[in-house]
Subunit: 84 residues, 7 copies
């Protein structure tokens, strides 16, 4: 049987690696995970924000960013964002 992976274990494995984050308000981010806490508030660096607009996906570079955990809908380890 495939080994079980707990959610915080998965996040912990992502430290230092790229990750794709989708927020509840549909904003999306990619970046390298620098750290997180029990509420899954997350510190990312080299962050790119993707905003879906009527004219397509707008990308913005943000550098280092702290994301509020209770606003996160899902995480995709190694994900390269909606345009990938």
């Amino acid at each position: 049987m495939a080994s079980t992976i707990l959610p915080l274990e998965l996040v912990d494995r992502c430290i230092g690696s790229p990750i794709h984050v989708v927020m509840k308000n549909e904003r999306e981010f990619t970046g390298t995970l620098m750290g997180f806490d029990d509420y899954v508030n997350m510190v990312l660096k080299d962050v790119k924000e993707y905003e879906v607009t009527p004219n397509g996906v707008v990308e913005t570079d943000l550098g280092q960013t702290l994301l509020n955990g209770n606003n996160i809908a899902m995480l995709i380890p190694g994900g390269r964002g909606p345009n990938a």
Copy 2:
């Protein structure tokens, strides 16, 4: 009388099996359940996302994904998604 099944028991039985997840914001996912915690945050692999758009259901492959438990509306063990 049919035996009672507690919610977390049902989720636990799904580890290693396909599952269909419907979020509160109407996004839907299928994948194989790898693990979960007490808040029913869930780690899935081989994930497919289904987004209902005016032009029908758009499917996206996501690979391994962590879903935020407080955003989940319902789980269908063995479910194969909205197109099934």
Copy 3:
């Protein structure tokens, strides 16, 4: 005076019986209650989903399903759904 019934007592009495569930996002379900926990997360089997659309109520068979308790608006023991 009619005897008092506590909410979780009522739910407990429904185990093994049909129940109609209305969610906060207006989705409705019928099915047989298999189990529940203190947060009234509920396991149902033989589940039918009812979605109100401009062209009337669309029914979908889901089999066994786990519903997130904090998304439930109301429960109708023995209820046979919106088309009944």
Copy 4:
């Protein structure tokens, strides 16, 4: 000075009596209160639901019903609903 009435005291006095319940999503119900818990989840019998639609208020008989306390906006002891 008028005697003070605590909220749960008021609800307790309503057991066995008619009550009008308005939910946060604007759905309204009348029925006889059978019981409630500390979260003011409520069991009602002989329940009538009132849904405000463009063509006026639609009434539906539901029989016995459990209402989720965190979705309740207000209670009117002895209230006979929006058409009264």
Copy 5:
């Protein structure tokens, strides 16, 4: 320096007096405060409800009413409602 008034002190002083309550969903009420609890769930009597509609403010008499504290946006001691 003006003496400090704590929120629950202010509510306590209003017992037996008229009060104007504005809910988060924009419904407004006036009435006499009969009692409240730590969650500021409130029992009012001689209650009048004010609903802002396209054709102006509609007033409805409700008698005794229990308001859910977590749905209250603000309280105006002695307030006589939006038409005052």
Copy 6:
């Protein structure tokens, strides 16, 4: 280095002084802060409410008012409201 100011310290310093409050539902208030509790529920006096309408900002005098802390988006010590 500028001295650090903790949120509740800042609010405490405002007691007896004018303050501008912006709620999550975009309603705005000015008034003199009389007191507050750990949830930042706030008692204000000489309160003016500002409602942004299609025809500009409508001001209403409310006198003494209690604002629900969990509905507050931000506080501006000494602020004189949106028209200042």
Copy 7:
């Protein structure tokens, strides 16, 4: 391996420095961080508010401001706002 940074550590490092804050209701602020608490309620000085309107981004100077932590979506240390 890059050193891990915990969310509250990152915020702590920002004290006395410029920071860009994006709220859940899409309002944005820049200012110098003066202090914060465990709920990430934040005290900022020299605050500028950015509101996205049909006619572009409107900037308003607010001076010292307290932001409610549970309304914050994300923080960008050293960020100079949406027009940068």
